[in-house]
């Protein structure tokens, strides 16, 4: 022991932190990293749309309806009212991504808290929370979103609320099951045996081990949320024309599918690419977070 006491005061050789390890492993996955870059570009383009020197997304002209992709001045053609597709797609990303991400973030916060309480406390509390959640599970998510949106009335805020309500139950369920499995591990028992209170144990020992999986699950919901939001707009329950939003654009361009199919498919392509990227990124995160690899 006398030999070692010298080094007790010596600086500790710290290995990399957990999150820097995750970032390193994530970067090594070319597909996930590429998708993350693409998503980032989409988000940046949406945020800085007014500064990109694009055409006015609302300015239409009957003289230049449904131009093809590659028409001079309209790199991605024009829509059924002669509006520039490139501008509308970039501006459309603002609402679409906002509507896709916000409900998931809100549901993530609410669902995580509910799931943590249900999973950690267990017993009656668990039964009450989880049976309530099951009630929402009885309805298909699209139907539930439409029903709530319909009851609240059309509009962006209402569709945000309805989508949040739709996503709370699945996130709660995942949070509950992850928490319950962590709770039964010996290190939680060891923490209890050291006399720590429930709040401290959840903060130090449970949260860090459950947030990762819940977060990964939530990212995979973002694509669903985006599609649902687009669906609500498609049904006239979300965004109203002439706002550019991918779901709404897909709906209005539907009539032009035989005239100019490539232009008509563009909003759908954007939804497809974005949700695919979100799924691949969440997949990449899942494997990057697996410490035992």
């Amino acid at each position: 022991m006398a030999v070692i006491t010298e080094s007790i005061v010596a600086p500790v050789e710290r290995t990399q932190g957990y999150w820097s390890g995750v970032a390193r492993r994530f970067r090594r996955d070319p597909v996930a990293a590429g998708c993350a870059v693409l998503l980032l570009l989409l988000i940046l383009a949406a945020i800085f749309a007014p500064y990109l020197g694009l055409a006015d997304p609302y300015a239409g002209s009957m003289a230049r309806r449904l131009r093809r992709i590659g028409t001079p001045g309209f790199p991605l053609g024009t829509d059924e009212l002669g509006r520039d597709m490139l501008a509308r797609l970039v501006y459309g990303g603002r609402l679409t991504l906002f509507l896709g991400i916000t409900p998931v973030v809100a549901a993530f916060s609410i669902g995580t808290v509910l799931g943590l309480v249900a999973g950690y406390v267990g017993g009656r509390t668990n039964t009450v929370i989880m049976r309530l959640v099951d009630v929402f599970f009885a309805f298909p998510s699209v139907l539930l979103a439409i029903a709530i949106s319909g009851a609240l009335g059309a509009g962006i805020v209402n569709s945000l609320v309805s989508l949040t309500i739709v996503f709370v139950p699945p996130i709660t369920r995942v949070a509950e099951s992850v928490t319950a499995s962590v709770r039964s591990l010996d290190y939680v028992d060891a923490a209890r045996a050291s006399g720590a209170g429930a709040f401290t144990i959840v903060r130090v020992h449970v949260l860090g081990n459950v947030l990762g999986p819940i977060f990964v699950y939530a990212t995979s919901l973002t694509s669903v949320s985006m599609i649902l939001a687009a669906g609500l707009s498609f049904l006239g329950l979300g965004v109203k024309p002439p706002e550019p939003e991918w779901g709404l654009m897909l709906n209005t361009l539907r009539t032009a599918i035989y005239i100019n199919p490539w232009v008509a498919a563009l909003p759908g392509l954007m939804i497809f690419v974005t949700s695919l990227c979100l799924n691949l990124v969440s997949d990449g995160l899942r494997s990057a977070m697996n410490v035992r690899d």
């Binding site: 007790i8 010596a10 050789e13 290995t15 045996a193 130090v204």
Partner: protein, 359 residues
């Protein structure tokens, strides 16, 4: 390690004196309800621990052995307060848990080392943080807790500068179990419960950890409850041995006496299942057939009578009490040192043909 340095989580003082057992467990009972159906009706009860009484003398190592499912681990968890008691008393150095001693105080005095060295460490915390957690919960400052963690790492044989900042998955099983021991010691406990603490390690590492445990015990004046299914290890480390079967104690006594005499037929069967090093002493026929009976509906009388070679009518009818094993020199002198077993064959006039009239 100076005493002032560790003030907030200093070892608890001895209260009852050397004669007072560190732990008296009196008639511990823990039943787990089995619920089923929509309303969670109670449809059965697992008698995990059913009337277990024993004492842990200060400074000794009490080994607990028995088949899996016999209630060893439940007993351990009851002692640390991880599971609430249904009935019975735990008296820690003269103070009864509940009215004279809070759960939080009990946990200062009793710590546990778990079997699964990986599951018992938070994968997101460095081992230094894991060890420092307990002392911090009890009000020790950040810097001081870290210093204690590093001192403990050194005393369990892990160089602090190399290991303090590592994560559990960067350590081997033996190293992780050393960390778990350090974490238990961080609370300066008087009793450490080792629940299969070395069972998952390979033999050479197991031996090292056992030696470490022996050193720490001497250094820190600890008392151990050592739970294992490895009878050789229990014999090596224990002063006294307690044999459990289906949630009950069937035999307790000094290790050598129990190993020599095997007063209860179950103890004899259990020890006969121990592989021998001598090829001439092979086990030719299984000492015991079948699985232990279902703890949901345990047999009446002596719980072992369904598998016992010597079972007679009285065994199914009357539950035998722990009685001192006849012919033991130390039997009955000091209670804690007595060799006792729960079998009708040991009690004269019990009605069993092997007991005799006045043995």
């Amino acid at each position: 390690m100076s005493a002032t340095d560790l003030a907030p989580v200093a070892p608890l003082p001895d209260r009852g004196g050397p004669q007072q057992p560190l732990v008296i467990a009196r008639d511990l009972r823990r039943h787990f309800p089995i619920r089923s159906g929509f309303f969670g009706r109670r449809t059965g009860t697992v008698h995990a621990v059913d009337g277990v009484s024993f004492e842990v003398v200060k400074g000794e190592t009490l080994g607990i052995v028995g088949e899996s499912g016999c209630g060893k681990s439940t007993t351990a968890r009851l002692l640390v307060g991880l599971i609430a008691l249904d009935e019975g008393d735990i008296i820690f150095d003269g103070d009864r848990l509940g009215d004279q001693l809070s759960l939080r105080e009990l946990r200062r005095g009793v710590q546990m080392v778990f079997q699964d060295s990986y599951a018992s460490l938070n994968p997101r915390l460095t081992i230094e943080d894991s060890i420092a957690f307990g002392p911090k919960v009890h009000g020790m400052g950040e810097g001081q807790a870290r210093r204690r963690a590093r001192e403990l790492l050194a005393s369990v044989g892990l160089e602090p500068a190399r290991f303090a900042g590592r994560y559990p998955h960067e350590l081997s099983g033996g190293q992780r179990q050393r960390v778990n021991i350090a974490r238990a010691l961080a609370m300066a406990p008087r009793l450490v419960i080792l629940d299969e603490a070395v069972s998952a390690l390979d033999k050479s590492v197991e031996a090292q950890v056992l030696n470490l445990l022996a050193d720490l015990k001497e250094e820190r004046d600890l008392t151990y409850v050592f739970i294992s299914h490895d009878l050789n290890v229990v014999r090596y480390i224990s002063d006294r041995v307690m044999v459990m079967y289906l949630g009950e104690v069937v035999e307790i006594g000094p290790a050598e006496a129990v190993y020599a005499r095997k007063a209860h037929p179950y103890t004899a069967a259990l020890f006969a299942a121990m592989p021998s090093m001598d090829p001439d002493a092979r086990t030719e026929e299984p000492p015991l057939a079948g699985d232990p009976p279902n703890p949901i509906d345990p047999p009446t009388g002596c719980r072992f009578h369904t598998r016992c070679r010597f079972a007679e009518a009285v065994c199914a009818a009357v539950k035998p009490a722990l009685a001192s094993v006849p012919g033991e020199a130390r039997g009955g002198e000091a209670r804690a040192e007595a060799h006792v077993a729960a079998c009708h064959m040991l009690v004269a006039g019990s009605g069993h043909s092997a007991a005799g009239g006045a043995a």
